[in-house]
Every structure is written in C-alpha cells, then in structure tokens.
Symmetry: C2
Subunit: 310 residues, 2 copies
C-alpha cells in the first residue's frame, strides 16, 4: 500500500526548484525538479504560479496539502523574506522564526528562516538551508558538525542548540583556482572518474604538516605551480592536489580559529563525494568522524515544521 501524502517539501533555490511529496513518517512518495522554477527565472514575483506549475497535479490529486519551503526562496530575492534566527538557537527558535502564507487553493506555505551568528568576526555570519541539515543530523550530542560545500559551514552543537557557526569559502576558492587562475588551472577529470588519491593526499598532508609554511595559505596555493615546474606534480594531478590542499587548509584554519582540538569527534553532513574527501582528511588532524544521514535536510525540515505546527 502506498503511504498517504501529508505534505510537500520545497528546496527552492536560485537555479532550480526541487519538490518532494512526503508521508507523515517522512517517506518520499514523489519528486519533481524544474529549473524553470529557479528564482532567477521567475518573473514579476509570480512564485505562486511557478509553484502551481510544478506541483499543481499533487494538489489536484491529494487536496491542499501543507507546503514547507526552504532555500533562497526565503531570502530578499525570493517569495517572502524570512528574517534570520540568531544563534544560539535550536528547533524551537527556528520554528518560532517561520512565516506562513495561504495560497488561492487554501494550502498553507510555511517558509523556514535561515540562521545568523552575531558573534562571528568581523561581521555576523549567515546560512540559509544548512541549518535544516544540522537539525536533521541531530542536536543531542555536543560536538562540531562540518557541512562541506561551496561555502562550507563549521557549526558547534551545545545543549541541544546550534551554538555558533563559521563559513569557509573553500569550494568557491577551489573552483576559482582550478578554473580561472594562472597557478592552478587544471584539466577537467573524466566524468565519474575516481579522484587521484595520491595527489589529493599530497596536498592534504602538506596542509596538515608541522611546516610553518602551511600556515601561509596564499603561499601554499602557489605550490600547485611550483610542483609542476619542479616535475613533482603532473598537470593531470593539479585538480586533486589543490582539492587536498584547500580542504586540508580549511581544517588547519578551523583548528586555528578554535573550531576543534586534537581527539575530537566531529560529524560531517554533505554529498558523498565531499564526505569522502573530508573524511579522508579528518584523521590527519586526529579527528574521528560520524557521517550524517543522506536525508538530513528533509528530516530537519520536517522537525522544524512539526514544532511550528504545535
């Protein structure tokens, strides 16, 4: 028997709209993904029409189900701007920060807030979406969680709440260096090919080493070029060498910034490719790792929405 749909979850970003039809116990019954619904493609604020185009058939079949929206759709350029909830905060504070809007068909859309860390230096730090992954991973254990990505987040969990977090622009710097720079422009690997782990480890091990030069990130990245000039790196090694170097540097810098100390157990919540890279580096910094569930975001969204509906 097919489970009964009870809500629609939207991951609505700048370039695409992904929708899930889910049951009360969190099973995903159906999914839709459309790039035409991406915020940048929706004209004149016609978000309701875009939503109906994407999931109107679900409403027709199952009635005006409640909708839960997260992602950039809740930002200034989205449908309804939801103010950030400040850290420290947990499920309760996030639920209190939600906003709702009723559609023409009677369905209620709940828009989730992002989070803001007012204690971050030099300016308050922000995230919009990652907090659902953190909540979905679980707030029971006091520890540091890492969310790898274009703008990785290192979040501290304490007393059942997100105590604070810090963004590292690692994925973006990796892309800039390997696509646009003179020092590390890299050959694209064949799609689906395994990383060159030897090259990756070389970069990571330098970043984790006792060399004082590894504290100089602006200098360390020049090694992608000197390594090739010196015959130590092949052009096809550059991509993975730089990957190991910048992710390793993220760990080194996070340690310097006080995000962890030797022997800590951290959690990692990301996609499989990044999880494997981050998990490989953690032991170089004497960290043990728990990997989060793949559906952490959905779990977090449902927990926040359930609390908001109480």
């Amino acid at each position: 028997m097919t489970p009964k749909p009870t809500s629609i979850i939207l991951d609505w970003g700048t370039s695409s709209l992904r929708a899930m039809l889910v049951s009360g116990s969190g099973e995903t019954i159906d999914t839709k993904e459309t790039s035409s619904g991406g915020i940048q493609f929706v004209k004149d604020g016609a978000f309701e029409a875009a939503l109906m185009e994407a999931v109107g058939a679900w409403f027709t079949a199952h009635g005006p189900l409640p909708v839960i929206a997260s992602g950039m759709i809740t930002s200034r350029n989205g449908w309804l701007e939801v103010p950030y909830v400040d850290t420290p905060g947990g499920v309760e504070e996030l639920a209190r920060g939600t906003r709702t809007q009723t559609l023409a068909n009677g369905a209620v859309v709940t828009f989730l807030p992002g989070m803001r860390n007012p204690a971050a230096k030099p300016f308050p730090d922000v995230m919009r979406g990652e907090e659902t992954q953190i909540v979905g991973f679980g707030l029971e254990t006091d520890r540091t969680l890492v969310l790898p990505g274009t703008h990785s987040k290192w979040a501290r969990i304490k007393n059942g709440r997100i105590e604070g977090f810090q963004t590292y622009a690692t994925g973006e710097v990796f892309a800039l260096l390997t696509k646009h720079s003179f020092i590390a422009k890299a050959e694209e690997p064949a799609p689906g090919s395994e990383p060159n782990w030897a090259a990756f480890d070389r970069g990571a091990e330098f970043a984790a080493s006792n060399e004082a030069a590894a504290d100089a990130f602006l200098s360390a990245i020049f090694s992608a070029r000197t390594g090739v000039l010196d015959g130590k790196l092949k052009p096809q090694d550059i991509m993975d060498y730089v990957s190991g170097l910048v992710i390793g540097s993220e760990f080194r810098q996070a340690r310097a910034a006080g995000c962890f100390t030797d022997g800590d157990a951290i959690g990692i919540v990301g996609n499989n490719i990044l999880n494997s890279r981050y998990s490989r580096i953690a032991p170089l910094f004497r960290l043990s790792v728990d990997i989060g569930p793949v559906d952490a975001a959905k779990r977090g969204i449902m927990l926040i929405a359930a609390e908001a509906a109480r």
Copy 2:
C-alpha cells in the same frame, strides 16, 4: 650633451617587449615598447627578427651594442632557457648563471637567470625577474624585502646574498575574488580614482587583529559578503575592503611562516599603487619600511651584467 649609449636592456615578457637604450652610468636615453614582440605573439622562435624589428634602429645608429635580456624570454617558452640559480645567491652567482648568444650583426645578448629556493615547502619556489629588483634595491643590509605583485615575493637578504624567498599569490587571489567570485565580486573603480582607504583599513585591521578568526583565510574572505548582507559594507567598498584584507592576510601569513618578527625594518619594491598599500599595512604589524628606488630592476640588471662581463 646627450650621454653615449652603451647597452640595450630588455624586459621581455609573455605579453610585451620593453627595451631601454642606456648609458654606462645608467641613464635611459630612449625606450621602445611593443606588444607584437611579446613571447606569445612570436611565431616559430623568430625572436631575433622580433628584436631587430623593435630596436634595429638603435643598432644602425650606435653599432652592435651589448644586449641584456631578462623576463620570461629566459624561460622554457622563450628564446633561450636559462637554468635557475639556487638560493642562497647574490650578484656573483647570478652573473655566473647568465648565458650569451651572438646575433647576426655581432651584438652579444646576455640572458639573465631566475632564482630557485630549494628549501621552500612543499616544493622549491621560483622567481624570474624579481631578483633583479632585489639586487637593484641593494644586498648590503640584512633584512626582509617584499615585492608586491600578482605573485608577491618575500625575500630574506643575509650576508650580501639572497638567502631565500617565498611567493604569495595575493594579487592573483585578489583578482579572482573581485572578478570571478560570488562572495566578493566588486564594482570596478573609476580609472585613476583614489582608493577608499576607510574600506581598505577595515579589511587590513581585521587581518592584523588579535582575533583567532583572522587566521582562517578561507573564512575571512567570506566577510566581503557578510559585511554587505549586514549593511556594514557598501557594494562600492568591496574592492578596497578585499584589497586590505588579502594584503593584510599576506603579512599575517608571512609572520606565521617566519618571514619577520615585531619591530623589523623591511624594504618594499613595487609600483607606486602597491607600495602605498603595502606601506600602509606594515605598521599594523609593527614593521618600519624603506621604499626601494623606482629603477631597481634596471640597476640590478646592470650590476649583474657588469659582474658577468668582468
């Protein structure tokens, strides 16, 4: 009375060829600059023809003067590859590393070597051209010299020689962030406009602060975005804020890597715009500054060539 020309100095790079007709005492009598002579535009190794096209008239007027060539023309993709001279090394070692070639008209071209620091981590570091600026600045005083640029060099002078050096890809990272990134893409300033020093100082002061977060470069650069989101930075501030932040981070990282300690006197050799930015940051790190002569490269080239001719 016009001084008598005694040699031709070439700064021959990838994108352009700059030539100076100089007297024995170093006065510049005439200059030529042509982009068609840039290495990337010279076909089939026709470098001699490109040189004659640029400065043939000087040979006709003054005879087969000696020519001194530096820049990428001495690299693998240039006219004649000159091996790097290893640090520690000074004028004598650089002179010994030169190579010569005689042209059809009888003029002798002396090609200057670059330098290589075999002790750099994780791979030997290299420079090609900056060593002439260092020699021209002077090797008499034991100190650290900074050569700001796309790939800044921090060089240590000791006992009349270049003891070692380290490259910081600061200028390139600045360009990547302000031209290509999501976090710090900046409005181009009006040509010739003064830097926004308040925005510059804001970035520099964070980089020089006691905040542990300033050790996390990959996180600090995200502040260009959070500063705007938080209303603390205006879009037109981004360019100079990022400039102060990355140059300040270069100093912070150079200190961590052992390039200087509190109270040191350093030298800076660069163009006027970068000199003013680097000089403004130095006191934040309790450094005093000597600015090198504008013709440091020419002076250095002539010193090395004179030693080679002995």
